[in-house]
């Protein structure tokens, strides 16, 4: 199964699209394995490679308790994140992978990430890693969301000197991750050590439950309290660089807010709240440009959470929102949860990556997914921008995503894609007109199945439409089918279904690892 999108960029495909999946045995136990090739296209999440992984994870969840069951799923990730040549399909692949990982964990099948390749686990790969039951890493392994080069490009070498290898490993490397809690097992970089760690850890893992996520919330809050004002020495002999005050960090402009032109001015939050909840609400601005409160829809109470002013998603915002969602779940009322989203991308600073931004974003995605699994209807209304990891952790983690006037979702803007793919912007713009697979904006993302509905003010008041969505029960993750139906992502659904069917037919114990 080769990628149908690389020819558009004059790039050679690979027979397996850089992802090998299968079934095997480890110490006599049947297991499922997915291995990513870090050298092909930087080990990326794309339509075909992502669908193979999603199909495998869904099969592992479906097979639980049957004769085809596996005891564990191992993810051998080696990735730079989303493949920008098929950015929208890749973003969806990450979001669907996150959901499928959590589905497998809910079914009692642990998912273990093994990070030891040269590419590491960056971008969406960092978020996927954080959603696994257990992370095994070697010294060479790295986990992060924004890579050092990306941060340097946006903020300058003073923020993060990507050529300073020692600094890069101190911030993102295996030892730092293991010490801080971002990885659970620290092993030597050889196959035998990974194998041994994989064999002994898989039966002692936390399940995907409220108790587990409550503990995770506390662990991440404690880390932020303890190390939130950390100091990192860039290199031995140089003066320490003091972390800048939080007010400065919040004002820092990121790649997305710089380069993502706001097509339309988004509605002001107050105006949006009034339009959505004419029956009344008590939603008020919280810390760090968040919104929190309740509202009434058709005489029923709904919980409302939000991010305003295109604020980059920081560990602080993620932990605040996640804490609120956990409170709502704990209340036990199955209250519907509405997320109003106007964020940028994840915040790009060395400090945030050092603190494990991937864990904070992964935690937020997990908590929103758990709410959905426990009977809360979760709906995101995107009224501003959302990009990259922040998009995956917020809007894409809900059951239903609706784009409003002024919404501008993206993975990366065209000028940045042009820089990475080394194609002139006008050539890229021309290509974007022929396919929805990588271009930013509501229409291409709706075509790939990310956005369920697009609401414009011209179509009438928002409140009754929201009531209709809330009254419609959520289904399983069918965004790949929606993408196939709309023609924006033709292969993902078919491939994932075929992988799932083939996995469920195969007999256990074919081959070993």
């Amino acid at each position: 199964m080769i990628s149908p999108h690389l020819a558009l960029f004059d790039l050679p495909p690979a027979f397996d699209d850089g992802m090998i999946i299968g079934r095997g045995t480890l110490n006599g136990q049947p297991v499922a394995i997915a291995a990513q090739e870090g050298q092909f296209m930087g080990g990326t999440f794309a339509e075909v490679s992502g669908a193979k992984l999603v199909g495998l994870l869904r099969a592992a969840a479906t097979a639980a308790g049957t004769a085809q069951a596996v005891s564990t799923v191992f993810l051998l990730l080696d990735t730079g994140g989303v493949r920008l040549q098929e950015a929208n399909a890749g973003e969806m692949a990450v979001s669907e992978t996150v959901r499928a990982v959590l589905e497998a964990r809910s079914a009692g099948v642990p998912v273990i990430a093994l990070i030891g390749g040269r590419a590491g686990a960056f971008g969406g790969g960092g978020i996927v890693t954080a959603c696994c039951s257990h992370v095994i890493i070697s010294e060479q392994g790295r986990i992060s969301i924004s890579g050092p080069e990306v941060i340097e490009t946006n903020k300058g070498a003073e923020e993060f000197d990507s050529r300073d290898r020692a600094l890069v490993w101190r911030v993102t490397g295996g030892r730092s991750r293991a010490l801080l809690g971002g990885a659970d097992s620290y092993v030597k970089g050889d196959v035998a050590s990974f194998r041994q760690a994989a064999a002994i850890t898989r039966n002692t893992l936390p399940d995907f439950s409220l108790a587990t996520l409550d503990a995770e919330q506390k662990r991440l809050e404690d880390r932020l309290n303890a190390y939130g004002d950390c100091v990192i020495r860039p290199r031995y002999g140089r003066a320490p660089v003091l972390m800048l005050p939080r007010a400065y960090l919040n004002s820092v402009t990121t790649l997305s807010s710089l380069c993502l032109p706001r097509r339309d001015t988004p509605m002001a939050p107050a105006e949006l709240l009034a339009a959505l909840f004419p029956e009344g609400h008590n939603v008020t601005p919280g810390a760090e440009n968040t919104l929190l409160g309740t509202a009434t829809v058709k005489n029923e109470t709904v919980a409302v959470l939000g991010i305003t002013d295109a604020t980059p998603l920081s560990p602080e915002i993620a932990i605040t929102l996640a804490g609120s969602v956990l409170d709502i779940i704990r209340a036990g009322q199955k209250t519907p949860i509405i997320l109003l989203i106007d964020t940028a991308s994840q915040r790009m600073t060395r400090r945030d990556e050092m603190l494990g931004l991937n864990e904070y974003l992964g935690h937020l995605a997990k908590v929103i997914t758990l709410a959905g699994a426990r009977g809360h209807r979760t709906v995101a209304l995107l009224y501003g921008t959302a990009a990259a990891g922040a998009f995956i952790a917020t809007a894409l983690a809900t059951q239903t995503l609706i784009a409003l006037d002024g919404a501008h979702p993206s993975v990366m803007d065209l000028p940045s894609i042009a820089r990475v793919t080394k194609l002139p912007l006008d050539v890229l713009t021309e290509k974007a007109a022929s396919t929805p697979i990588f271009a930013p904006g509501v229409a291409p993302l709706a075509a790939t199945g990310a956005v369920a509905e697009v609401w414009t003010a011209a179509d009438g008041p928002l409140a009754p439409r929201l009531a209709t969505v809330l009254a419609t029960p959520a289904t399983k993750d069918t965004r790949d089918a929606l993408g196939a139906e709309r023609g924006g992502r033709k292969q993902a659904h078919d491939i994932a279904s075929r992988v799932e069917a083939a996995f469920l037919e195969a007999t256990a114990g074919e081959g070993t690892i």
Binding site: A7, D10, P12, P13, A14, Q39
Partner: protein, 103 residues
Amino acid sequence: MEKFTISTRAQRPLPGTTKQAILGVVASGNLELLFERIGGDAVEIDVLTASTGYRAVWEAVIHDFVERTSPGGVRITIHDNGARPDTVMLRLMQGTKMLEMPS
């Protein structure tokens, strides 16, 4: 990117029973090859390469390879990402060895 097929004949069919082999990786300066047995003494090589304008070099390397190993009855599909001729020859020989090994 350039795509072409080179068809030739080998002196004898390739021994061994392994039906197919896949090797290599589409990394920078590397290539991926799929070997399949088609029977007879024909050799068909489909090349998809990221570097344009090197068809003559490919033909020279492939003819050299066919003369040295005589891989009759084999179809080879190549995805190349700028591998040098010595790497290409190494991978071709490696794939032939994989087919020759008992399955």
